[in-house]
Symmetry: C2
Subunit: 244 residues, 2 copies
Amino acid sequence: MISSTQNPQIKLAAKLRDSSRARREHGLFFLEGYRLCMDALENGYTPELLLCTDKFDLPGAVHISESVAQKLGDTVTPQGMFGLFAHSPLSSLTTSPLKEGGKVVALENLQDPANLGAIARTAEALGLHGLVISGGCDVYHPKALRASMGALLRLPVTAVDNLSAWLQACTLPTYAAVPVESAITPSECDFSAGAVVVIGNEGNGLSQEAIAACDASITIPMRGRAESLNAAAAAAILMWELCK
Amino acid sequence: MISSTQNPQIKLAAKLRDSSRARREHGLFFLEGYRLCMDALENGYTPELLLCTDKFDLPGAVHISESVAQKLGDTVTPQGMFGLFAHSPLSSLTTSPLKEGGKVVALENLQDPANLGAIARTAEALGLHGLVISGGCDVYHPKALRASMGALLRLPVTAVDNLSAWLQACTLPTYAAVPVESAITPSECDFSAGAVVVIGNEGNGLSQEAIAACDASITIPMRGRAESLNAAAAAAILMWELCK
């Protein structure tokens, strides 16, 4: 039973919870909660360490005190189960769904892990084939994983270093989502052959390079005084149009 | 220049920032940031107190030190402007938009202020006529106001005590959003005469009373393993269908 937050395993867990850099350096990520840990196990992620309070009886898990669980928990009332898992080599989108009517959302430098998680959850629910991420998006951020309800552990996710180059090489039609009135609207698009919709950073939108690399720009017509939709709402509407 | 966080005005501001109950009792709410304070002033909200650091030169504002601004700020890098405003008598949806093709979203007991704000922002951007709130929704929560980008200060918002009774009396067609396969889908609906779409609590969905009070139940067809969309994503898709 670990009852000290100074225990090296607990300190590692806290580091992986808090630091994107630690997650990269160790090749591990932190999960909180029974459901997410089970999702990871079911989807073939390798557990490096499972931690739980006496409330759980999990083979191979190291037991921790309630006070350690409180410190480790990122939620208001931690359930008392945590896992450290090895990164999966991000499951690649195979070329076939990209060729044959694949429906994919690509994210450029999304800042807010809650948005990333929400978009992954919506993408899975609507039946998209995968997610492409680039820039600062960290799919192993605990907030992203939680907001995704595990979708980030199940959806095919590809991380690309150079999104513009990837878009230029992509054989599917590519659409840059922009808040620009002259862009085409979803009703003017035929998505039956599949498509990639590209969503930009919350504050700055898409880079000029990403917009130029796409076949067309797409917009959601707006009527009110709000200047733009938030990234997760825009993504939800465009993914819905893509999939229906 | 106020330089102590023990100053009664600063203590009141912090209370209004943190407590829904304090906001109700004082009939005031707390705003952070230049843009939101200007939105409130432009939309006729009465400022009880404006607070700013020396970075701003605002007539009538009380100056505060940088350290007080840091304490008061809810964001990582506070701009240094805050306002306490009187609640507006929540602007009523007049009966006319409800009669003549009005498009309205109603929220039952939404828990997460970020969701409430995101839904308001999307509603305004897509051109909905108003928002109906009930249960625990607090439109004066600083996180809701911030996530709405001020839309909650501009959109007509009606708070109702008994949502089911309001829905039953409503002359527009009413649709309960539910994750139930047998419900009708957006493509089966004709929204040209206007409609009210009702979104439920994040964890529990809509109450049986609210569902029963609606003319029909509507659902977003789902394909993936995710059991449901989050409230803001479901609302975005349904409001988009309502308005296009």
